[in-house]
């Protein structure tokens, strides 16, 4: 008997008993839902963490020289924290020293930041990230200037009072008017707005546009860092493949500058986007390890339910089996009929599970800042798992059915 015929019969049997069929495949449904939803969210997080989080905060193919790590994943003990606080800060001289001594071509941006208020004409934008930096920073952060221009190296050297605003800040203070050429007040000093950066959107629900960027030598530096001190130096080697070599080199240069002995720990931090992702990688690894276990449990339960339903079906349909045998069905025909029925039932469950799983993932995406993106491989696994569970669960009931004696089966009520 051909497969299509068997599937047709199976769908017919399922259609006749919709409710019972639905309950019998609920285990598989839940298992696959879980699989799809978790994989989708983890997958979404992976993309998000890589493309948005790490790179938005640190920059593509860039590493930062800092006193202490900025993005901390995992536990920080009080001792670690105190140790970090005791470290010397990164000075202008450190930055100059590194820039002079590195042997690889690179883009470098000195950087300092803190939260400030930005005023204009009686309106205030609070909690704005004031960044003191160099023009190279726009390149490293991949900021596109929407209006006006970025500042120049000369404006950095002379400490000009110019500022480039984030999209939200410009919107809030100027409400659709062209801010370029206008003056804002930061820390009591007037700054000329020379540009606006294109909208960056949100990260985990937080706006990435609440910033104002000025030359790091501008007078406002007293608001963000002590004199001659920097929060970090961002370094992006021109050759992205050499980032680890470049980091090792910078570490060496800094150790020499700080005269550290070989056994002494480095009293500074080098941070990459990749490093910032380590914590997430751990979480996602745990999830992905636990996932097969959790999915496996619900699938085993689902398989047992289907097996019981199929055993019941065989008992209920003993007479039908007798009729089919009398009409010329071989054992293999009966066997395949019930295995196909069980597999169809289970695959149907998996298909529903995929639908609800995707639905759940997008519900999570809509209601929380968590992202979701459906992984194609998880759909394939979902269907395969449904098919597999159904076939395995169907073997024993189908075997029982195929072994029935036609005379006895025909006499069954």
């Amino acid at each position: 008997m051909r497969l299509i015929e068997a599937v047709r019969m199976a769908l017919n049997a399922i259609r006749v008993q919709k409710l019972k069929s639905f309950f019998s495949l609920i285990g598989v449904l839940i298992g696959v839902t879980f699989l799809i939803a978790v994989v989708s969210i983890v997958q979404g997080m992976n993309v998000y963490m890589r493309d948005r989080f790490a790179n938005a905060i640190i920059g593509f193919n860039t590493f930062n020289l800092r006193r202490q790590p900025n993005i901390i994943t995992g536990n920080v003990t009080d001792d670690m924290w105190r140790n970090w606080q005791r470290r010397p800060r990164i000075s202008y001289a450190d930055a100059d020293y590194v820039e002079e001594h590195i042997t690889f071509p690179a883009t470098i941006a000195r950087f300092c930041e803190d939260r400030v208020e930005v005023w204009h004409g009686g309106k205030v934008a609070k909690d704005i990230d004031l960044v003191g930096t160099e023009p190279t920073y726009f390149d490293i952060k991949r900021y596109v200037i929407r209006l006006g221009r970025a500042f120049t190296p000369q404006e950095v050297t002379t400490g000009s009072t110019v500022v480039v605003l984030g999209d939200i800040v410009a919107d809030k203070l100027f409400e659709g008017q062209d801010p370029v050429g206008k003056v804002v007040t930061i820390g009591g000093l007037p700054y000329k707005v020379i540009g606006v950066v294109e909208k960056q959107g949100t990260l985990f629900g937080l706006s990435m546009d609440k910033f104002a960027i000025m030359p790091y030598k501008a007078p406002g530096r007293r608001l963000i860092c002590p004199i001659n001190i920097l929060d970090q130096v961002s370094i992006r080697p021109n050759n992205p493949d050499s980032i680890h070599i470049a980091m090792a080199e910078v570490e060496g240069i800094m150790r020499i500058r700080r005269q550290l002995k070989p056994k002494q720990e480095s009293n500074f931090a080098l941070e990459t986007a990749e490093g910032a992702l380590e914590g997430w990688a751990k979480i996602s690894k745990i999830l992905m390890t636990a996932l097969p276990l959790l999915v496996g449990i619900s699938l085993v339960v689902g398989g047992i339910v289907i097996m019981n339903i199929m055993l019941m079906a065989v008992t209920e349909r003993t007479r039908e089996i007798g009729i089919r045998k009398a009409l010329g069905a071989r054992r293999a025909d009966i066997l395949s009929q019930f295995i196909v029925e069980s597999a169809t039932l289970s695959t149907l469950g998996a298909a529903l599970g995929i639908a609800t799983g995707i639905g759940l993932a997008f519900l999570v995406k809509a209601l929380t800042p968590l992202p979701a993106s459906v992984a194609v491989w998880s759909l394939v696994v979902g269907v395969a798992v449904g098919l597999g569970v159904g076939m395995v669960a169907g073997v024993y009931p189908a075997y029982r059915a195929s072994k029935l004696d036609p005379i006895t089966a025909l006499r069954a009520e």
Binding site: E5, I323, K325, A326, G328, R330, R331, I407, L410
Partner: protein, 234 residues
Amino acid sequence: MHDIVIRVTNLGREYVMEGERINALREVSLEIRRNEYVAIMGPSGSGKSTLMNLLGCLDTPSSGEYWLNGQEVSRLTDNALARVRNKEIGFVFQTFNLLARASALHNVELPLVYAGASGTERRRRATSALTRVGLGDRMLHRPNELSGGQRQRVAIARALVNEPSILLADEPTGNLDSTTSEEIMRVFGQLHAQGQTVVLVTHEASIAAYAHRVVVIKDGRIESDLPNPSVAAA
């Protein structure tokens, strides 16, 4: 073509029930020719059901030989027996034994499914078989939408669809009223007139009276095997 469709020699069937041997059938020998209309009669417990199961290849004998259409079938494997049932035998049961969930057409198509016929071939042959029993306009009805007589006709169409060597009917009118019974027996009569070999198993003399030859079974043996005088005279 073999003129003799069924040849049974010294057929016996033993059952072991709770340690006791029961000889349901002893040394039965029988020949049925092509296009015969035979009734096998006997009271319940006589062994006629056992004989029918053996003739229908649903069961295998403990002893003796069974040649069906020139083939010895008493020692065949399960799969080979399934094939024989599919090709050579058309069953008609007392309780119709239709699949409740399937339409008349699908019920009739079922033996063709197991014969491996293509979809269009199945449809064509099932439609023609249903038309032959006068149900051309009821093909898409389900059994519960049909009367008892109509259901039995669907079952007859199903039995005929693979053009079997014998039509084997087990109390085909047992669940029908007398008018419908007559109607069904007329269908058997017509099929016989068209050349079909018909074997009827019944305990009712009035039904056996339609057959041209009556074999009476008692205590597992053939008690008598005579032409039906009323039909022979007609």
